[in-house]
Symmetry: C2
Subunit: 433 residues, 2 copies
């Protein structure tokens, strides 16, 4: 399948942050084959006129728990501990594959409609998520988030369920769809497991060349309890067990320190900023501008819908762009360009994905944003409008891996009515009674 | 004109925060005539089936500068002082009535599409804004924002242009459209005028029974310079000149003190919280939970699009609901109910408007939100979904003062294509060259 985009205005998201104007973008199979001012040679299976629209790379959502879409707003109005103990955890105990597939479909629909083309997810039954993501067409780094609550001296990979889950996920799904699905190793968090488990997961990642996905220092409580228990921050503690000896993403990083950042830079650990979740749950405000100055690669995530309670990466990008200005009383703390980079090219780097930029040779993950919408009129600067004024509902087209998966409000790879029926029939009754 | 809404699920926004289910809402002329479980007697000019939708009061946007919609993203990427001096102020010098009307139409379209039914605006040429708002159908409290940079001893209402502007606006527009348009007195801010001007504006408000609209303590600089110059906070300083002896709204209040809040409660001054603008411009985070505990009536505003850079009151309501949780590390700092109250009934109280609640006798300012949208599925609780998950694009219908002005993506009282053409032809060339 080949596609030619004509009359393209595009934020390339290249090193010099250039904008293509009145140009052409060609796609051959899953990859971008040409970006430039001239009509490329040859014929194309389809031509898409981009007049009135602006192209940017699809969003890379680097931290999600996609089936939690089913728990949107569930247990709201309760404090964090009751919300988790009385609502979220009991609901999570009741998943089966069919209900989880329906919930995943719902979450994917919301993401695709608002321009996401690549995700990193950590949740139970990730094989079910893999199947759904593969069919929906977006790229996904999937992981199981190992927990181990036993005594360290009793740990054995043969009896640790999440070790088995790692092995099964890797064997069943790693590199499925020509790399569309990639499996990451994952430790849920420092406080939900212990050293032998960390060593095993780190070793598993090393043996198979996998990335790593960990929740890090999301709350003050977790950060300080780790300091008290181990005399070390979570980042530095896990480093002793080889957890960062591979490409890795550290979600949240709200309470990380300058020493943590230096280690992250040294080891190539990316921070995934989740501003909506951190605000809503009362976790705090991650020191993103300081991490950026320290050289940490900062990417962006929505976290689960249960702690957000929606997915619209335009909103996440805008919040990342303004929150630190306000809290730090510096209107230049995060620029529009930096927010766009977090949401695209930094995310690609964090996940080890050849996406996030509009250039020949990259995966064709591209979205078109309707700049004729009232909320994008007038346009003095495309980047300013994309970061501060666009909404997910302005996405006119989503192309993932060279395939148009959403256009003018219609999903081309998933059946939203069927998903909603399955949510009603299977998922809601099972999970919430 | 009479309307019957059937199969209504509605957040009434009453004292007990009750939800009407499978009910009826009837509208007669500009007012709600019935809300309840029974099909009301009589015939209706139109019937609107609300199956799959949730009704709430239209949003009250209590602080806007609507023509600044034309400056969306203009001068972005510059620090606050350059942004104002080199971009915004020079552009504002070039308005004429025709360009300002076009810009206002654009701003009204964006607001109406995302569910706003009532605004408080402060800007130049407010008579032009009055005309546009009257035709568009929403209620508007309009004001001119008096500035006076002369020496106090030279002040005379006969030579102060904004005194004349107050008189003209009042005479031309106060109570136009059977109260649809109301004129407020207004002092732009403490730092842009002086005592004789404050006394004159306060006296004008008193003589004509008008409300008051003032920017208060938006930035640390302005707050501290006032303390240094007068030995008093802006709120307390203006009180000496009678500025709060009428219904009043104080926009921003980022640096107000407990003593200020006590005075606001005593005098009935409402705070208008503008979280997007305060974050984007690096102003800071207003102490909203503490103000609420002190008893201050807190309403919500978008501020001008030039410092936001969009209007979607759902986004503003969500940010107001989560920002203080994160900054104060308290997930219950602002509840969903409180955020909904800020955006509706508190706004009505702030503007002296009989709206913001769904009950018989109130103005029929009502919106329907499409709860079949993926981002509102599932729904465990309507309020949770409205505050944390809904977007402006989920607004299926906007009824202002008993008239449907927006339905299923179509504007019924304004011509968006004509507005956009006028923006292109008149406004952009004149203002930006």
């Amino acid at each position: 399948m080949t596609t030619l985009f004509t009359n393209v205005t595009a934020l390339r998201m290249d090193e010099d942050f250039t904008t293509l104007r009145q140009g052409f973008v060609a796609v051959d199979g899953t990859h971008i084959s040409y970006v430039g001012p001239d009509h490329p040679q040859g014929t194309f299976d389809q031509t898409i006129d981009c007049t009135g629209k602006v192209m940017m790379p699809g969003f890379v959502n680097c931290h999600t728990h996609i089936p939690m879409t089913l728990m949107r707003g569930y247990g709201g109005g309760h404090d964090l501990q009751s919300w988790l103990q009385d609502f979220i955890f009991p609901a999570e105990d009741r998943w089966d594959d069919r209900s989880l597939a329906a919930a995943t479909g719902l979450g994917l629909a919301e993401m695709i409609a608002s321009g996401v083309t690549c995700i990193a997810d950590m949740y139970m039954r990730p094989g079910v998520i893999a199947r759904q993501a593969l069919d929906a067409g977006i790229s996904a780094n999937l992981s199981v988030g190992a927990v181990y609550f036993g005594r360290p001296e009793d740990f054995s990979p043969d009896t640790c369920e999440d070790c088995e889950n790692h092995v099964r996920l890797y064997e069943d799904w790693h590199n499925a769809g020509d790399g569309q699905i990639q499996v990451d190793a994952s430790i849920h968090a420092e406080y939900t497991s212990c050293a032998p488990a960390w060593e095993w997961v780190a070793g598993f990642a090393q043996r198979h060349g996998l990335g790593m996905h960990v929740h890090i220092s999301e709350t003050q409580k977790e950060h300080e309890e780790c300091l008290n228990k181990y005399g070390s921050t979570p980042i530095q503690l896990l480093n002793r067990y080889g957890v960062w000896d591979t490409r890795a993403i550290a979600a949240h990083c709200v309470y990380t320190t300058p020493e943590d950042w230096a280690l992250m830079v040294q080891k190539g650990v990316s921070c995934v900023h989740n501003p909506y979740s951190n605000l809503k749950l009362g976790s705090g405000v991650a020191p993103i501008p300081a991490m950026g100055r320290a050289g940490v690669n900062v990417a962006l995530g929505t976290d689960g819908v249960s702690s957000h309670n929606s997915v619209d990466m335009f909103a996440d990008m805008k919040l990342a762009a303004i929150l630190h200005n306000g809290v730090g009383r510096d209107p230049m703390a995060v620029t529009a360009r930096q927010a766009l980079e977090m949401a695209t090219v930094n995310g690609a780097r964090a996940l080890g994905r050849n996406t996030g930029r509009i250039e020949a040779g990259r995966i064709a993950d591209l979205i078109l944003v309707d700049f004729t919408a009232p909320n994008l009129t007038p346009c003095h600067d495309e980047a300013e409008n994309l970061v501060y004024a666009a909404h997910g509902s302005n996405v006119a087209m989503n192309m993932a891996r060279g395939r148009v998966i959403y256009q003018n409000g219609a999903f081309l790879t998933l059946d939203l009515d069927r998903i909603k029926a399955e949510v009603r029939q299977y998922a809601l009754p099972l999970i919430f009674g």
